[in-house]
Symmetry: C2
Subunit: 335 residues, 2 copies
């Protein structure tokens, strides 16, 4: 592959001049600039980003470590992140942790060795030594969606509190009283927060939330299914199930169906995270929608602020309830 030397030779100038010409440095004569451009084109010259990065100490690359690519929420997030980064002249390389802390560490390592300029993380767990070190050692970093308490890293997230309250209100108005929740892993902030918000809303409506109505999931479909099975085996099963993410909601639906029960007539179902597919499921699923794209954009802005030496602040957007039919007929069409 042609290097800058070849271009220099072909255009009869030094490598320094080639570099300047190609990078738009002002003090290059138009004639030279043109000759260099021609030579570069003729040789199919493609600057070596590896060499450039070594010299300039920047890669113009952002790392994005997410918990699960197969989860539409994260793929939407990733897409938004890439878009925003590209607009600002950065590329992004994605590491999929698959909800596995070890794999997450693996990706953190490679990204750090690659000397990415900054790191966007949606942590799978409570934070490994690697994560803490990276944050402490000054790698520009920002958390998105999930975060790790106690680390001095900006967080870009959506607050679902109000939307969860709306959901409980919605369920309550439809006559449901026994509501259960499938929680995410306790090690994740989103795992806890959503349960807290739910618990609080339940209290507000004077509804009890017994321990056995809090299922333990891990943000994967199978765990949603297991938790739901446990609910349905209870002497007094819940009338509605709220899954703390979309994959677990799918698992819940599987389990409900496999018992010959119907949603929403026999059991109501709602999910955290709204995704395109929820419109097409049977029935369409009521969900708490996060402003996914905005989350991604804001996260990139915050990270690049840090990368380029500016201050970066945490940002909290808000989620909203999207009512569909999985909790019962909406009020309007009831009579």
């Amino acid at each position: 592959m042609a290097s800058i030397k070849d271009v220099a030779a072909r255009s009869g100038v030094s490598v320094a001049t080639v570099s300047r010409a190609l990078n738009g440095h002002p003090s290059v004569s138009p004639a030279t600039r043109e000759r260099v451009a021609a030579a570069a084109a003729a040789l199919g010259y493609r600057p070596n980003a590896v060499a450039r990065s070594l010299r300039t100490h920047q890669t113009r690359t952002l790392g994005l470590v997410i918990s699960d690519v197969l989860n539409p929420f994260f793929t939407e997030l990733a897409r938004a992140v890439e878009d925003a980064a590209r607009a600002l002249g950065y590329s992004v390389v994605i590491g999929n942790a698959d909800e596995d802390p070890q794999l997450q560490d693996h990706h953190m390592s490679t990204l750090l060795e690659r000397r990415i300029d900054g790191l966007l993380v949606s942590p799978t767990d409570g934070g490994s030594a690697l994560m803490t070190d990276a944050a402490a050692s000054g790698t520009p970093m920002v958390f998105v969606d999930r975060w790790i308490p106690g680390l001095d890293v900006p967080v870009v997230r959506a607050d679902g509190r109000a939307a969860v309250r709306d959901l409980v209100a919605h369920l309550h108005s439809l006559g449901h009283r026994r509501l259960a929740i499938i929680a995410g892993p306790a090690a994740t902030t989103t795992g806890n927060e959503r349960v807290d918000a739910f618990r609080e809303a339940m209290r507000e409506f004077g509804l009890p939330l017994p321990e056995e109505y809090i299922g333990q999931g891990d943000f994967r479909a199978a765990s949603g299914r297991r938790a739901t099975a446990r609910f349905l085996d209870l002497p007094e099963p819940p009338q509605a199930v709220f899954a703390a993410d979309n994959l677990m909601a799918l698992g819940a639906m599987d389990e409900i169906r496999s018992r010959g029960l119907r949603v929403p007539q026999d059991v109501a179902l709602a999910a955290f995270d709204d995704i395109a597919w929820f419109v097409h499921t049977d029935p369409p699923i009521t969900a708490v929608a996060q402003p996914t794209a905005e989350l991604g954009h804001a996260a990139v802005r915050a990270l690049i602020d840090r990368v380029e030496g500016r201050e970066a602040a945490s940002v909290t957007l808000s989620a909203r309830l999207v009512v569909r039919r999985s909790c019962g007929e909406p009020e309007g069409s009831k009579r």
Copy 2:
């Protein structure tokens, strides 16, 4: 960030020895090896992959350019690719072309500048100059799923011919005679092939396939919707619609629903590419399933063979029909 020099200084040896010690070179005394390891750990040393790549001329990174991350088929493929690559000691960086040839070229460029060791591509179009050049100039490359005819690049794909024939047989057996297809862009191989297979099967069953029953789509939901609208506006609309990918099938479903029609009673629906969500739609969608994960694995194997100087052969796996309820009640439960 600590460099190899710092480690050398701290352990009292030369950088050469540090390099050897850390890379497991045999001719380093155990004592030295240990001292070096200790120093590296104490300093939190993390080898600079950029410098290493510059020196060794390899990045241990594969590029993967896909047409649309939001399409579950591709995210599943990406995930399989990453898994396989990681197992072989490579990382992968993904470029999402969003079905846009220009964006595809942008990603090709950055990946090439990054000096990835090899490139996996599922082309969005018929092949830009950049693509042809890359292939010609010896960048190890393999196509996956879609390919570009005329380029001497191995192709890893699934043959849907038999499965499409099975689908037509299935539709025929359910009494459907007027079958329509929503094709992908003519510039993609998968766009054409699927239509060809369909046409051939139709001929076999003695069914006519008029031009107006061939809709033109672009692998995005909206185009599926438009094409379906056109079908349904026909004086004699088709009894069944086969979408050449999952997103277009979704669009088709939207359109059918919005007219107050039911699947499959009023119009039968089937799709190419099976995805997890099809189980949960209303009704569950009958689809031609590609062996996505195997495709990803095979593609990585082929690419790495090329990267490491071995011969790489094309591989063709086969797809199979997965019957659900979107074309009518399956034969078994009919009576």
